[in-house]
C-alpha cells in the first residue's frame, strides 16, 4: 500500500542533571533518594521574598559540556523566567535561559553505517528541575516532594539532523559518554538523570520542506527511544497516506503497551511569557575563564581509545569495550600503572569482569573492587604463583569482596606446587593406579593423557603447575 518513500527528520532535546553537590540557586543537597522534602529551603520551594544565588559549578559544567561539543560560549549570559502553573513548580515559573543560552552552534560526530556524520547542536542552556509529583492511589490527591526542585539541569537542543533511530541512539550515546567522561553527570536514563524528548516529522524522500512535527516524551531507555521512533514514523505515514494531517502536539510514550497518546493539543498551546529574571545578575564569561575550564578537560573517549591502542598496544576490540565506560577505563589505567601488563589487565576486565557484571545484572559503574587488587592478581597469575583455575576463583572473591589476593592465596594455601619431587611422587601414583589409561596412551590414544592430567590435578587439589605435570607425565610414560 505504501507507494511513496518517506524519510524521518529528528531533533532531540536532552535534559541532563548536573553532578553538583548543591542545587542551582540554593545550598540544599542534590542527593537522590532522601525522604520527601528533606532537601528543601525557602528558595527551592518558591517562598515569597527568597532570593536565588547561582552555583558557580553549574556554569563551569555547562561550559565544559559546551566546549567538548564544539560550541561557542556566550560571553554575556542572563536568565529568564518561563511562566506556567503546575504543582511541581512552586514559583509558578522556571528559571531558564531563553534569549542568551550559555552555549551555541556546536556539533558532535557520530558513526553511522554510511560513515561519520556531524549532528549540529543548536544550543545548551542552564535551568532548574521541577519537584516530583506522586499520585495518591487511595486519596483523591497528589503529593509533592520538592527534593528535586532546583536541581541543576542543562538542556542540549540538537539541530533536526537525524534521520533514523540508529542515528538518535548513536548521538545519545556520544553525548552520554562525553558528559560522563567530563564528570558533569552520571547520565542514567532509567533514574532520570538523562532525559530525551524526541521531535519527529516525516516527509517524502527527496523533498526539503519539513513536515509537521510531534514531540515524544517519557522515553526511559535506548530501547524505548528506538521503539517510539519507529512507532511514531508509522503513525505519521499512515495519517498522511490516508489523507489526514499530522497535528503538532506532545505525545507520551507507553513502553509496555508500545503506544503513544497525545498529552496537549494545539488548542491549549503553552504561552510561557518569558521575561528576564530580575533576581539574578548577568554572568559574564571572559577568555581566561574559558581557558581555565578547557585546561581542566579530562581526556575524552576518542583520545583515550587512540592512546590505548598506541601506548598499550591494545587491539581495537579491547580498547573499544574498555573505553565504553569511564569506570572501566579508570580501573584499567590504575591497574596497568601498578603491574605494567595492559593486555593481561584488559583480559580480566573483558572476560571475567564482564561475565560477572552480566551474572549480577550490574553496570560497569557499579564495580567496587580496587585496581590494586586486580593488579596483584595479574602479578600472581603471571609469575605462576597460582594457576589459571585458581586465579579465576580468586578473582570472583576480588569482584565480590575486594579481598587482597596475596593474603587470600597465602591463607587458603592456593599456591601452585612447583616442587618437582612432590609432583613426581603424585604422578607416579596416578600412573600406577590407572594402568588402562597408560595402555590406551601407548596404543596411540593421545586423549588418555588428559585423563591422567585431570587425576593429578584432582590429587593436588587443583594447585599443580600444569606445564610441569604435562612434562613429567610424558617422561614417566
Amino acid at each position: 500500500m505504501m507507494s511513496k518513500q518517506y524519510e524521518m527528520v529528528i531533533g532531540l532535546e536532552v535534559h541532563v542533571e548536573l553532578a553538583t553537590k548543591t542545587k542551582i540557586f540554593c545550598s540544599c543537597s542534590t542527593a537522590f533518594g532522601g525522604a520527601p522534602n528533606t532537601h528543601t529551603c525557602p528558595v527551592c520551594t518558591g517562598m515569597p521574598g527568597s532570593l536565588p544565588v547561582l552555583n558557580k559549578q553549574v556554569v563551569e559544567y555547562a561550559m565544559a559540556v559546551g566546549l567538548a561539543t564544539n560550541c561557542e560560549i556566550t560571553r554575556c549570559n542572563k536568565f529568564d523566567r518561563k511562566n506556567y502553573f503546575y504543582p511541581d513548580n512552586p514559583q509558578n515559573y522556571q528559571i531558564s535561559q531563553l534569549y542568551l543560552p550559555i552555549c551555541r552552534n556546536g556539533s558532535v560526530e557520530i558513526q553511522t553505517e554510511n560513515g561519520t556524520k556531524s549532528i549540529g547542536i543548536h544550543e545548551i542552556h542552564m535551568e532548574e528541575d521541577a519537584g516530583k509529583l506522586i499520585h495518591d492511589e487511595w486519596g483523591d490527591c497528589s503529593l509533592v516532594d520538592f527534593n528535586r526542585s532546583g536541581v541543576p539541569l542543562i538542556e542540549i537542543v540538537s539541530e533536526p539532523d537525524m534521520r533514523s533511530a540508529e542515528e538518535v541512539i548513536a548521538y545519545l550515546d556520544k553525548l552520554r559518554m562525553t558528559i560522563q567522561y567530563l564528570g558533569a553527570s552520571d547520565c542514567k536514563l532509567q533514574e532520570g538523570s538523562m532525559r530525551a524528548d524526541v521531535n519527529i516529522s516525516v516527509r517524502e524522500a527527496g523533498t526539503t520542506k519539513l513536515g509537521t512535527r510531534t514531540e515524544m516524551k517519557n522515553l526511559n531507555s535506548f530501547r524505548a527511544i528506538a521503539r517510539a521512533i519507529e512507532n511514531e514514523k508509522n503513525r505519521q505515514i499512515d495519517l498522511i497516506e490516508s489523507g489526514e494531517k499530522v497535528i503538532q502536539e506532545t505525545r507520551r510514550w507507553d513502553d509496555t503497551k508500545e503506544y503513544s497518546y497525545a498529552m496537549r493539543s494545539k488548542e491549549d498551546a503553552q504561552d510561557y511569557r518569558y521575561f528576564p529574571e530580575p533576581d539574578l545578575v548577568p554572568v559574564v564569561i571572559n577568555d581566561e575563564w574559558i581557558a581555565e575550564v578547557k585546561s581542566r578537560q579530562p581526556e575524552l573517549r576518542e583520545a583515550k581509545l587512540a592512546r590505548y591502542k598506541e601506548e598499550y598496544g591494545l587491539p581495537d576490540y579491547d580498547a573499544d569495550i574498555i573505553t565504553g565506560s569511564k569506570r572501566m577505563a579508570d580501573i584499567f589505567e590504575a591497574a596497568t600503572a601498578i603491574c605494567g601488563k595492559p593486555k593481561k589487565v584488559s583480559n580480566w576486565l573483558m572476560v571475567e569482569t564482564m561475565r560477572l557484571l552480566k551474572e549480577h545484572a550490574m553496570e560497569p559503574e557499579d564495580i567496587t573492587f580496587s585496581p590494586k587488587n586486580l593488579a596483584k592478581l595479574v602479578e600472581l597469575a603471571d609469575a605462576g604463583t597460582i594457576n589459571s583455575t585458581v586465579a579465576k576463583e580468586v578473582f570472583e572473591k576480588i569482584f565480590d569482596e575486594d579481598i587482597d589476593p596475596d593474603e587470600y592465596v597465602q591463607e587458603n594455601g592456593l599456591k601452585t606446587v612447583n616442587d618437582e619431587g612432590e609432583l613426581r611422587t603424585v604422578i607416579g601414583q596416578v600412573v600406577k593406579d590407572n594402568p588402562q589409561s597408560v595402555e590406551d596412551y601407548h596404543n596411540g590414544k593421545e586423549k588418555a593423557i588428559g585423563f591422567l592430567v585431570g587425576q593429578t590435578m584432582k590429587a593436588m587439589k587443583g594447585k599443580a603447575n600444569p606445564a610441569m605435570v604435562n612434562q613429567i607425565l610424558k617422561e614417566l610414560l
Binding site: T20, K21, T22, C26, S27, C28, S29, A35, P36, N37, T38, H39, T40, C41, P42, T45, M47, V53, L54, N55, K56, Q57, V59, C76, K78, N83, F85, Y86, P87, L133, I134, H135, D136, G139, D140, C141, S142, L143, V144, D145, F146, R252, M263, D271, R273, P276, P278, L280, V281, P282, V283, V284
Partner: protein, 97 residues
C-alpha cells in the same frame, strides 16, 4: 487611551494567570492594561539607537555561590507552609499529565 484591550485578550490573560474576573473587574483590568500599553508606547518614542538593552538594574555581574551543602533537613519547618501534609509531602489536588 490609544490601546483598546479586547474582550478576547482579557479572557486569555485571565486564563494564563488562572484568574476569574467579574464583569466589573474585567472593565477595570482592561482600562489598566490599556494605560500600561500607552505608557510603553510613550517610552517607544525615545530614540534608543545604539543603546544596549539593559539586563539588570544594578551594574553588577558574576555573583556566585560555591558548591557546598549548607542547608540541612528543615522539612518540619518547611512543611508548616503547606495547607495540608501527607507522608511528609505537600497535598495538592489530583494532577495527572
Amino acid at each position: 487611551m490609544a490601546n483598546i484591550i479586547s474582550d478576547e485578550t482579557i479572557e486569555y490573560v485571565g486564563i494564563l494567570a488562572k484568574l476569574e474576573l467579574s464583569e466589573e473587574e474585567k472593565i477595570r483590568a482592561k482600562k489598566d492594561m490599556g494605560d500600561m500599553l500607552d505608557y510603553i508606547d510613550k517610552l517607544n518614542e525615545l530614540d534608543t539607537a545604539g543603546v544596549e538593552p539593559m539586563s539588570h538594574v544594578f551594574p553588577v555581574n558574576n555573583v556566585f555561590r560555591e558548591d557546598i551543602v549548607v542547608n540541612g533537613d528543615d522539612s518540619e519547618q518547611m512543611l508548616k507552609n503547606a495547607p495540608e501534609v501527607k507522608d511528609k509531602s505537600y497535598v495538592v489536588p489530583r494532577t495527572v499529565d
